[in-house]
């Protein structure tokens, strides 16, 4: 039995040690906003925050989460930067098909949490691991900049 702190709430999960957090979130806790993409940490759609860091939940096994707090797309809107990023996302109409967007928003929010005074190079370094097959990268960049401007 694992006790996880997810979006500010304590949750009990009965899952094997080596089950990826992504499976726990989706199948055990019904938090299906986090998506499965490549399964090998190369696309970014499964990104959640663990201990404040953006982490690919397909690679992090539940036994290694420990006491670190987990934030998912369902809860990130309750954080200051998460709310601003989501607002900026809507204003820029970022998504096309939308499948990668939860991961994009999680990575963008973690970027702002760490460094609100960002430039293009920071965005490239933080977002390069989040792929978007629709090619919304230009709108993603604009939305992150808008959110950063409102955070500064």
């Amino acid at each position: 039995m694992h006790t996880l702190t997810i979006n500010g709430q304590s949750r009990e999960v009965d899952a094997p040690e080596d089950m990826p957090l992504l499976w726990v979130l989706r199948d055990h806790l019904g938090l299906v906003g986090t998506k499965y993409g490549c399964g090998i940490a190369q696309c970014g759609v499964c990104t959640v925050h663990v201990g404040g860091k953006p982490v690919r939940s397909c690679q992090l096994v539940v036994g290694d989460v420990g006491t670190r707090a987990v934030v998912t797309i369902e809860g990130v809107g309750n954080t200051p930067h998460g709310a601003k990023v989501q607002q900026a996302w809507m204003e820029a109409a970022v998504p096309q098909c939308g499948y990668c967007q939860a991961g994009q928003i999680m990575s963008a929010t973690a970027l702002l949490d760490g460094n609100p005074n960002l430039d293009d190079s920071d965005i490239d370094a933080a977002m390069a691991g989040n792929l978007c097959r629709c090619g919304t990268y230009i709108r993603i960049r604009r939305a992150i900049k808008n959110a950063a401007a409102k955070s500064a």
Partner: protein, 456 residues
């Protein structure tokens, strides 16, 4: 004039004999310890061969199963994705390719017809049942130390396996290396063909560790440099060597390049699980050695190995002292890509999500790059190989996985990211070129069935 010729001849003869003597003296892997080696039956310190105490009353096959893991026969006698012990594993060497053979009990293509004496001749002397010589890719100069009883327990285990019909693959060796008969000379020079002789001045634990490291685990076959005749040069015992395109690191007591700065618990954990926090995880051939062999040893045996390793004299090698502090959190600090941003770009897209810009992984300690020997090796050999081949290990903690990027990324890409990683997280950045990476791909013995990374 005659006098001069005579002197020259004498000098040449002396030099040749001296060199031969030097090679000869370098063959004993345990001479570094000094003291007096005694016959096994004369050692009064306790049992040092065979299975550990908890298996002492187990049947022959169970004992053989333990010992075959300790001797790590499976890693080389199994082709990637193939049936265990059915052979076909390729050794790519500068003078051609050799394949391991089928040691399942198949009568036509395996060892089903081997008598005990024939099996012992293969294990101790490198001589097949048909009288032909084996190449020392089969570590019989190490296995020569194995007791008859232990070798025959291994045989008993092998004979319980289902026979697999797997004919040997023909070797592709250039002349004169394709002349097996010449190995008779090599064997006279480099295989003492002598069973393990404990060191009377050392503890049982040390001697047990020596037996496990030399007779069974044959650590030196990868970790000890070779002399010009491709035999182990124990003058530089465990000082590190390049084997099958991977660097087997210095495991002597040297503080910079070896294990001098590791504590006993770290060495214990690394051997038994293939990972120690702050030192990273094993991959490549050492990953196989961990998963197929070392992880099966009982704790007492791993402690014995630690004791033995601790006694190896320090040999310096060309590796700088390992950097143990994480890199800065921002990509703009620490190593900064300027004129050649390719490595940093690849790192950002394919690596940073697990390895982090600091090198300290938020995912698993196995993925932390800070403090890892490979990352602090300016040749970047193992970094490049890990990028090419990925990591696919099965441990007691579950699967350890890194995608294989070898198919999705070009040689230039892999060189750039290896240079960036060693520069950012290690002591000294590498300067690999795409050509170097192409060479490394050729040297690696195998291309396992890998889960590919998507094209980047």
């Amino acid at each position: 004039m005659k006098k001069i010729i005579g002197t020259v001849v004498a000098v040449i003869v002396a030099a040749v004999l001296g060199f031969a003597g030097w090679l000869f003296l370098g063959r004993d892997p345990m001479s570094f310890a000094g003291g007096r080696a005694v016959a096994l039956e004369d050692y009064k310190g306790g049992d040092v061969t065979g299975v550990p105490a908890q298996l002492a009353s187990a049947d022959l096959v169970k004992r053989g199963a333990y010992l075959i893991h300790a001797a790590d026969c499976q890693a080389c006698h199994t082709a990637p994705g193939g049936v265990p012990f059915a052979g076909g594993f390729a050794f790519n060497m500068p003078f051609g390719t050799l394949y391991s053979t089928n040691i399942t009990p198949d009568k036509q293509t395996g060892i089903g017809d081997y008598t005990d004496a024939q099996f012992l001749a293969a294990v101790h002397k490198g001589i097949r049942a048909d009288g032909e010589r084996l190449y020392p890719a089969m570590p019989y100069t190490s296995y020569a130390d194995m007791t008859d009883a232990d070798a025959l327990a291994i045989k008993a285990y092998l004979f319980t396996l289902a026979p697999v019909h797997a004919p040997p693959k023909p070797d592709q060796l250039s002349w004169p290396f394709n002349q097996r008969g010449l190995l008779a000379l090599w064997d006279v020079m480099f295989n003492p063909d002598e069973r393990f002789r404990p060191n009377a001045g050392q503890s049982q634990q040390w001697n047990r560790g020596a037996y496990l490291a030399e007779a069974m685990g044959h650590c030196g076959e990868c970790h000890t440099p070779r002399n010009p005749a491709f035999a182990l040069d124990n003058h530089r015992k465990f000082a590190g060597a390049l084997t099958a395109g991977w660097r087997a690191y210095n495991i002597t007591g040297d503080k910079d390049a070896g294990l001098g700065d590791w504590n006993d618990e770290d060495i214990y954990l690394y051997l038994s699980t293939g990972h120690a926090n702050g030192h990273g995880g094993s991959a490549g051939p050492m990953g196989e050695a961990t998963d197929n062999s070392l992880s099966y040893l009982v704790p007492d045996d791993v402690h014995a190995l630690v004791t033995y390793l601790r006694s190896i004299p320090a040999h310096a090698s060309d590796l700088p002292r390992t950097v143990t502090t994480p890199a800065p959190a921002s990509h703009k600090e620490g190593l900064v890509a300027d004129s050649e941003p390719r490595g940093e770009k690849i790192f950002a897209g394919a690596c940073a999500s697990c390895h982090d810009w600091t090198g300290v992984s938020p995912v698993t300690g196995y993925a932390t790059l800070t403090g890892v020997r490979a990352v602090n090796d300016p040749s970047a050999t193992n970094v490049a190989q890990t990028v090419i081949n990925g990591v696919a290990r099965k441990t007691a903690d579950g699967k350890i996985f890194m995608p294989a990027f070898g198919e999705g990324y070009s040689d230039d890409d892999i060189a750039a990211v290896a240079n960036y990683v060693t520069g950012r997280f290690g002591a000294k950045g590498a300067h690999l070129t795409g050509g170097d990476v192409a060479d490394l791909r050729k040297q690696a013995s195998q291309h396992p069935n890998l889960q590919e990374a998507p094209h980047g």
